[in-house]
Amino acid sequence: MGRIAFLDANAAVAEAAVIAGCGFYAGYPITPSSEVPETLAKIMPERGVPFIMMEDEIASINACIGASASGVKAMTCTSGPGLSLKQEALGEACIMEIPLVLVDVMRGGPSTGLPTRPSQADIMQARWGTHGDHPIIAISPCNAQEAIFETIRAFNLAEKFRQPVYILTDGLLSHLHAKVYLPDPEEVEIVERAAPTVPPEEYYPFDYNYEIPPLAPWWTKDGKSYRYHMSSLNHDKTGFPTVVPPFIQWQEKRLISKIMNHIDEIEKFEYYKMDDAETCVIAYGSVAEAARVAIDEARKAGIKVGMFRPITIWPFAEKQIRDLREKVKRIIVVEMNLGQYILEVQRAVAEKIPIYGVLQAAGIPIRPIQILEKIKNPEKSVEICMTEEELKKFGGGE
């Protein structure tokens, strides 16, 4: 049996990482993500698992790449400005196909922006922050309980697909304490990395015979490591650099197809009250919970509205969003940024039905009442409305 706890989503992610078998953490603390390392710094050493506070964000992700190549499940955690720093190494993890979990607790930006305030402004950075064609998996849980199961899933996906996986939360969700259930590892599916089936002398880290070649441990304590080369340059099956066009094209395509061929396994989403809906709200993360309250209220007033909530943000839920064109009359995308996920929705819907946005990047959560207003009157602007009294709260040099 697992146990009941009262945790915020940061601590929940940390606890879940340990349940998933995280064997290495390296990070550099940053608000609003710091409870992740704070929690791990307590519980990982108790289990004899290395926790390292590195000198900066770049070193952190590189340490995780090294640890993962050595055969352990690795995780790092950061927020917007730290994520910018991690992007180069993230690309390296993509091309070298290193399993990795990267937690990003989104805060306002650009730059140092709003350290203690929530946002969802890293949606596109998660997708395209590192250069070059590359696949990415990103997961956005909506509450602390879901963060636990989705963190475990993130580790599973990372190990299965030899792929960095994001967990995107935000400054609101990450600090919202709620009662959660922490399962025992035996109660959940935990995927272990595929072991190489050949002896070291026959092993290639990018073997052409596989869609996802097994990743052998580069270094192990017992000396049974596989000695091979890895390069962040485009490489052939040996891991050494190559400029031979067919090899490059094959590898680039495989990086994408190893994810896209398994899209049904990776995509996860929720339909909420969508059976007879004429308006579909699209929201993810903590914003989806505000949308849920708004939808319940609107339903009481007889408005046929529901929600499509992508839990897997990347890869994009192309098919599901396209299907909405036949199901509903209009879409309202709600996100704590000035319009990022909505861009992909617009592309997929291709002007077949109108798309409206509740897009707010003001450092405060989007309120259910704003979403409700938009549901009632999609043409109306529902940007932050505050009374003088409420504005007073934000006075002073915060």
Binding site: I4, F6, T31, P115, T116, L172, H175, L176, H177, A178, K179, S286, E289, A290, R292, V293, D296, P365, R367, P368, T387, E389, E390, K392, K393, G395, G396, E398
Partner: protein, 191 residues
């Protein structure tokens, strides 16, 4: 909607207000049948920045934790009093330390039920350690509002405070409860 009670504990960083809120929320989820959430808000300063914790106690699962009708507000700092009393509901209970919250507009005393109690002085001189201030405040809150069973809250305090400080904190809690009950009988502080 069923039963719902919103509490806000505010102070400046380091006073322990967030912990006070957490103890009440933990009491609700671990020692009663209620659901609860706790959302802290703080600024970049480690010490001295405005901080608050919003707690919702409900008999239904809480989908989105937004406090819009605060029933109880405790604070030990004027800046926090000024900043965070925006979404208090009419007739809300306010508990302040008069040594640190000196400026309470007359209109507030009409609109809300304002109780004044020297939390910090009492914790320091009667209990014997200023760190018990938050537990003292929790005691006053529970005695005054009866929002949760007092023994449930006692269990939550025991879960959280270090063993070496347990007796001191129990003393603070009991005194708090006593003061709270007295306030409940006598009504808001007269000025």
């Amino acid at each position: 909607m069923g039963y719902r009670y919103e509490l806000r504990f505010g102070g400046v960083g380091g006073q322990g207000s967030l912990t006070a809120g957490t103890m009440i929320a933990e009491a609700a989820v671990f020692h009663t049948k209620y659901y609860a959430t706790q959302v802290p808000t703080y600024t970049s300063q480690v010490r001295g920045g405005k901080a608050k914790a919003d707690i919702i106690i409900s008999d239904e699962p809480i989908t989105f934790s937004e406090t819009t009708n605060v029933d109880f507000f405790m604070t030990t700092h004027q800046s926090v009093y000024d900043a965070y009393r925006g979404d208090l509901k009419e007739g809300a209970i306010i508990l302040v330390d008069p040594a640190l919250v000196k400026n309470i507009p007359d209109e507030d005393r009409k609109k809300y039920k304002v109780y004044e109690y020297p939390l910090i002085y009492t914790a320091k001189h009667e209990i014997g350690n200023v760190v018990t201030m938050n537990v003292l405040a929790v005691g006053v809150c529970i005695g005054l509002t009866h929002v949760l069973d007092k023994e449930a809250v006692r269990e939550a305090i025991k879960d959280r405070v270090p063993p070496a400080f347990l007796d001191l904190n129990m003393k603070a809690y009991d005194l708090g409860l006593e003061v709270g009950e007295k306030f409940r009988k006598e009504g808001p502080t007269k000025k």
